[in-house]
């Protein structure tokens, strides 16, 4: 009996230490990349330039759509902008820019200065819409197909590697 108890105690200790070991070795950086494979539903975004609304119907005919959350006050958005300009030349992808908690006048000035890579320009004045996309900071980008499946999620500014990966997805 004593042997059994000893065995169970040792197994329990090994188990607890194992859990500690695995948990401490796991990355503690939170991200929302688990969203890849999920579907985006109920898109309803106000246009930045008009009183129109963008819904899922507006994007269903695009082979691929890149949804990019940006703002004129966001410094990393300036860093990624040339990459968006580069991507906008690709005909297989449309880019939806969602202007996040920004002033319209500043947003338009930003685009006038750096160029407009967006096929659709929407706004999210109070940030509520960003929750529907699982956004917790900007810039963030989401690549979706015509069935609204999330193919890729990029947290932080786009870089050369991201653009290359997006182009590879589009090609395949």
């Amino acid at each position: 009996m004593q042997k059994t108890i000893k065995l169970i105690t040792v197994s329990l200790l090994v188990f607890i230490l194992g859990i500690f070991y695995l948990s401490l070795n796991r990355s503690s950086n939170y991200d929302t990349k688990f969203l890849v494979g999920n579907k985006l539903t109920d898109i309803e975004l106000k246009s930045l330039q008009s009183k129109e609304f963008f819904t899922n119907d507006d994007f269903k005919n695009n082979k691929y759509t890149l949804i990019n959350f940006w703002a004129s006050w966001c410094a990393p958005c300036r860093v990624e902008h040339p990459y968006l300009m580069m991507l906008s030349k690709n005909k297989d992808i449309k880019i939806l820019g969602i202007n996040f908690k920004d002033k319209k006048i500043n947003a338009l000035k930003f685009l006038e200065e750096l160029g407009n890579p967006y096929d659709y320009l929407a706004k999210d004045n109070n940030g509520k819409q960003s929750v529907n996309f699982g956004i917790y900071g900007i810039p963030e980008s989401i690549l979706i197909d015509n069935k609204f499946n999330i193919l890729k999620k990029i947290i932080g500014p786009l870089n050369e590697k991201d653009i290359k990966e997006i182009k590879e997805i589009i090609k395949s």
């Binding site: 009996m1 108890i5 169970i8 329990l12 939170y30 929302t32 688990f34 969203l35 999920n38 908690k101 109070n126 940030g127 509520k128 960003s130 929750v131 529907n132 996309f133 699982g134 917790y136 900071g137």
Partner: protein
């Protein structure tokens, strides 16, 4: 007159109860939601931009008539279970929830064993 007064009191009590219930639910929900951009804070304790946005969304969802669980489900769908301070009971978290009970049973088993052994000795 008395009946009218009674009706008024009942109505007033109900509306106060409903309001306090709503406030309670909202703050309870805030306390169970992690501020993802803060260090170990719930959105109830945080004034970050993200926490403010989430509070607005929770308010909207309550107005839409969503229950507490529906709100948690919606947000964990968007941000993962990490956003919840109280993890859901599912197959991934099964061990987390059941482990304390297993330890309790095991501890009880050891105590019974030790008592019996002591009784045998005496």
């Amino acid at each position: 007159m008395k009946i009218k007064l009674l009706c008024l009191v009942i109505f007033f009590n109900f509306s106060v109860y409903a309001t306090s219930n709503e406030i309670l639910n909202e703050s309870q929900i805030h306390k169970n939601l992690r501020c993802l951009v803060c260090q170990g804070q719930s959105i109830a304790d945080s004034n970050s931009d993200f926490a403010q946005t989430l509070k607005m969304v929770v308010k909207d969802l309550i107005k839409q008539g969503k229950t507490e669980d529906e709100i948690y489900n919606f947000l964990s769908e968007k941000y993962g279970d990490w956003i919840l301070y109280k993890p859901k009971f599912n197959y991934e978290n099964f061990l987390l929830w059941s482990f304390p009970y297993l330890v309790l049973v095991f501890g009880g088993f050891i105590i019974v064993f030790l008592i019996k052994r002591r009784q045998k000795k005496t």
